[in-house]
Symmetry: C2
Subunit: 215 residues, 2 copies
């Protein structure tokens, strides 16, 4: 990841741990300020307002620092998404497949159904304009699918499924209708949608869809 590489690139082997920690701390603080500024500029003015200079000014950081570390808007957007993935998030364990998928869908719904501009929608919109952002968004989602494979494993262990399933396909079946309704169709948010879409995907899985032999 950008930050870690940057934080250590000038560190000699013999450098004391305290110095490395302090450097990492300042580096992490600058990164946090800059990435927060990216989100603020994006929400306030959209992609057209997003320039390295605008981000630097908003973050209170010298523009050469931003250019050196993130290069351009694509680098900034990619790092926002990489930073978002750098967490301990895991899918909630509700005790049933439909419960787990509903909880996941509720997170997607809350991110997308936010009235007014929201960062998730703004980042997805930006992915149509920046190849770096598009690649980072795909990485973010694929990482989330990998972490959520446990949802399918648990359902299998509980005997809810007729056999092993392709967890990624199951997760996309559950969540894709939310992105479609709220992001592409811009339909009025329906608070029951997370449960309904989760129920449909779970029913498919129980009926043998997403089987790993079905490829």
């Amino acid at each position: 990841m950008t930050t870690e590489k940057h934080a250590t690139e000038d560190s000699g082997q013999a450098e004391p741990a305290t110095v490395r920690r302090r450097t990492g701390g300042r580096s992490a603080r600058v990164r946090a300020q800059v990435l927060a500024a990216v989100g603020e500029v994006l929400l306030a003015g959209g992609y057209d307002a997003l320039t390295v200079d605008a981000v630097a000014a908003r973050a209170g950081v010298h523009r050469t620092t931003v250019y050196r570390r993130w290069r351009d808007v694509g680098g900034l957007l990619a790092d926002v998404l990489d930073a978002a993935a750098d967490d301990a998030w895991g899918p909630p364990d509700t005790g049933s497949l439909v419960g787990d998928l509903t909880a996941l869908n509720q997170e997607v719904y809350d991110a997308l159904a936010d009235s007014g501009p929201n960062l998730t929608t703004a980042l997805i919109a930006a992915s149509f304009r920046s190849a770096d952002a598009a690649a980072a968004l795909s990485r973010f989602w694929e990482d989330r699918y990998a972490r959520c494979a446990v949802v399918a494993d648990r359902a299998g262990q509980r005997g809810e499924l007729p056999g092993p399933v392709d967890a990624r396909a199951l997760l996309i079946a559950a969540t894709a209708p939310l992105y479609h309704e709220l992001l592409l169709l811009r339909a009025a948010p329906d608070p029951d949608l997370p449960r309904r879409a989760a129920g449909a995907a779970a029913a498919s899985a129980r009926a043998g869809a997403f089987g790993t032999g079905d490829h």
Copy 2:
């Protein structure tokens, strides 16, 4: 629709039918040239290249004609989508629910999996930048869902479903994974995806998902 209104707005009641037809013919021809030019400019240079002047030049039509009739880029994009909906398209009747959904998914797949820039992706990307395009895209899709309600009706008549279903929810369940994979995740096109996603949605429906009581 834009064209019809324009073609008749200066027509007096007593105008002979032949004149109206001729006016409509020229009007329709200009519209076809301009809308084709919108697609060409969009594919060649993206939304940033799309201006009324660029479209007029490409279409070989005077710019004031374009301004008067379409007003701005949003009006042009909306009319491209309205024109696309102005057809006799209907869902193929393959004799089974999974067959019908697979055929629909194949059309979505063919539109999105096209390597290089394709008009469907370009129009969806434009919908993130133009409220008029976004509204027209929603109209286009809702009209397609309405036409496809017959897919659910036929499945019901064949006894494939346990009860009446929300056709729109079923259609979104079938198609949304394709938009998600190809448009948002930018995954490598998998030629088996249309069938798999259709199969999963059909399995849900057979298991009682999308029931009209489930709201």
